[in-house]
């Protein structure tokens, strides 16, 4: 990391021990594979280390054409603002996500500002500046880290901006890890289902073989044919046989 502890010219609250403590906490979250915890940790760092008054982490979900997202926010009030921005046609955070470039508004009360409606809503909540940092994972933008402040003194500069960049990179890595975990859960479930399904099919083979005096292969062929004829899944047919739902009680051979 290129950030120097205590760096930043504007009297940053970031100090060596605080940064070290925060990083150890992050390692703990990585060890526990707690990706939700990592998202909250990122937000906390924006507030405690970067001096933002509010922070939010937007993680995009779903396909590109329909913008759906998850927000982890330091303040509930931020949710309305982010929703207003991202659901609208144009806004600073939306701009940050679509362009993939960081967006900074130093003075939300500045006349002739590009996103006037948004700026008014933000000012109504007491914010005077904002900074949006895109989250990137292998070239694609996967979300944004949002920082907002109520006093000019807290605006991140220099080393703090680099730290914001690093936090966004960490948050993106956390998001990627969450995808991996989710995929693994789905795979485990599919494996369990496939193994259980195989067992039920074997049991049904035994039942039908015994019922109709067939070989096991013929019993299986019978189920497969029934499944095809009735457009059913073979597992569903086997399950009906095992749970005596009156299936294949009599057959023409």
């Amino acid at each position: 990391m290129t950030v120097r502890p205590g760096g930043g010219e504007g009297g940053s609250p970031m100090t060596g021990p605080a940064l070290r403590g925060a990083l150890l906490e992050a390692v703990g979250l990585v060890e526990m594979e707690d990706t939700g915890g990592l998202a909250r940790w990122t937000i906390d760092c924006c507030v405690t280390l970067l001096g933002a008054d509010a922070a939010g982490l937007v993680e995009l979900t779903g396909a590109e054409d329909q913008l759906s997202w998850n927000l982890t926010a330091s303040h509930e009030g931020l949710r309305d603002l982010v929703e207003y921005d991202l659901h609208g046609a144009d806004g600073p955070f939306r701009q940050c996500i679509t362009s993939g470039d960081a967006v900074t508004i130093d003075d939300l009360s500045h006349a002739g500002i590009r996103w006037a409606d948004f700026a008014t809503s933000a000012r109504r909540q007491g914010f005077t500046w904002l900074h949006g940092q895109p989250l990137r994972a292998s070239d694609a933008v996967v979300g944004a880290l949002l920082l907002l402040g109520t006093s000019d003194g807290g605006r991140p500069e220099g080393g703090d901006l680099q730290l914001a960049h690093a936090l966004a990179a960490l948050a993106a890595a956390g998001g990627a890890q969450r995808q991996v975990t989710r995929l693994r859960d789905v795979e485990v479930q599919q494996l369990q289902e496939a193994l259980e399904s195989r067992i039920v099919i074997e049991q049904a083979k035994g039942i039908l073989a015994s019922r109709h005096g067939l070989g096991l292969d013929r019993a299986f062929a019978l189920m497969r044919r029934y499944a095809r004829d009735h457009r059913k899944d073979i597992h569903a047919v086997a399950d009906d046989v095992v749970h005596s739902r009156g299936l294949l009680d009599s057959v023409e051979r």
């Binding site: 990083l23 369990q192 195989r198 067992i199 099919i201 049904a204 083979k205 015994s210 096991l216």
Partner: protein, 349 residues
């Protein structure tokens, strides 16, 4: 007949082109066996052909396992490189030493798990290759993954079990007959190391400890010559253990540098081997669900026999399974043997 059939199965050869690793000696030997079968008219060409095809399949599995081992090996090397960087940084920056030491430990654990996977997969690959190269390869002696798992931890036998959501066993993969029998005792007597592992506790016991831990299972398993057992839960990335790995033998192995810890091997199984699944269509019975395991590991005979008993006697399936197990225990036979008797009608309740 043999001649034409061999030609028909020629697409097996085309798979060779997609192999990333070298086919290996086993494949070449299997190929020469194939040529031999094609050339010499045997008294039983069909048997000859079948054995040739099995040898070819084994050689192909050997190549696939070697490829998997290679992947695990590369993953281990990547993890080791990252760990080494953190170890270096921990030395160089004392203020951040704790951070780097913990990151290094994280990657070293991953490295150990990947190395254990690479080791057992390449051991499995080599024994498959050697088996395929034998002209008289006996199908009942075809190597199984669990032998390589046992060798990797240094124990004589190893058995891997997975539990379904209903609590029934969905997979029972054992390295050998004795180990499978020992596991069947655990199931029938409802006590043993596995029962503790599936509740999340690692267990290890030797000699008379076996009897004090498990008054019924201990003496029974010692009669099979097993004097030491250990079991670890298998998590598959889930909260609750999804199964367990049990190892056993006449004695506990002496620790050597050649061996991996039981936990590393359990992680290697759940993170690499069990995640390697065939893409099967639903209901397809020909393709194995887990390519590194055997069809018997899903206990098809037991479940078929349970189906027969349910139809014939009106018992529910789990009672039928318990009755087959009890019979096997009483007659000191394997569950599969008793189930086979039910299927061929020689055992009528």
């Amino acid at each position: 007949m043999a001649r034409t059939l061999l030609r028909v199965t020629a697409p097996d050869m085309s798979a060779m082109r997609t192999w990333r690793t070298s086919p290996g000696a086993g494949f070449m030997a299997a190929l020469s066996t194939a040529t031999y079968a094609d050339r010499v008219s045997s008294t039983d060409p069909r048997a000859k052909l079948e054995s040739t095809l099995r040898a070819l399949q084994a050689a192909r599995s050997a190549a696939e396992q070697a490829e998997r081992a290679g992947r695990a090996h590369r993953a281990a090397a990547d993890a080791a490189a990252i760990a080494a960087r953190h170890e270096m940084l921990a030395q160089r920056r004392p203020s951040a030493a704790e951070l780097h030491e913990r990151m290094a430990a994280l990657h070293r654990r991953n490295e150990a798990c990947q190395r254990a996977a690479a080791n057992m997969l390449s051991t499995f690959s080599h024994s498959l290759e050697r088996w395929a190269a034998r002209p008289d390869a006996d199908v009942t002696l075809r190597p199984v993954l669990m032998e390589a798992v046992a060798a990797t931890v240094g124990w004589q036998g190893a058995v891997l079990t997975l539990n379904g959501r209903s609590g029934s066993e969905t997979l029972v993969a054992a390295s050998d007959k004795t180990t499978r029998r020992a596991h069947e005792l655990e199931m029938t007597l409802a006590e043993g190391p596995m029962w503790e592992a599936i509740h999340g506790h690692m267990t290890m016991a030797n000699d008379l400890e076996l009897d004090t831990h498990w008054p019924r299972f201990g003496p029974a398993v010692r009669r099979l010559g097993v004097q030491a057992v250990a079991a670890v839960p298998l998590r598959l990335g889930t909260e609750e253990p999804a199964g367990c790995l049990t190892v056993m033998g006449p004695r506990q192995p002496r620790p050597t540098t050649e061996q991996w810890s039981l936990c590393d091997v359990a992680d290697a199984l759940s993170l690499t081997v069990l995640r390697d699944r065939s893409r099967t269509e639903p209901g397809s019975m020909t393709v194995p669900i887990l390519p590194s395991f055997e069809a018997e590991d899903m206990q098809p005979t037991l479940h078929q026999a349970a189906g027969v008993l349910r139809e014939r006697c009106g018992w529910n399936v789990s009672d039928a399974i318990a009755i087959i197990r009890a019979r096997a225990y009483a007659e000191e036979r394997s569950v599969a043997d008793v189930a086979e008797d039910v299927l061929n009608g020689s055992l009528l309740p």
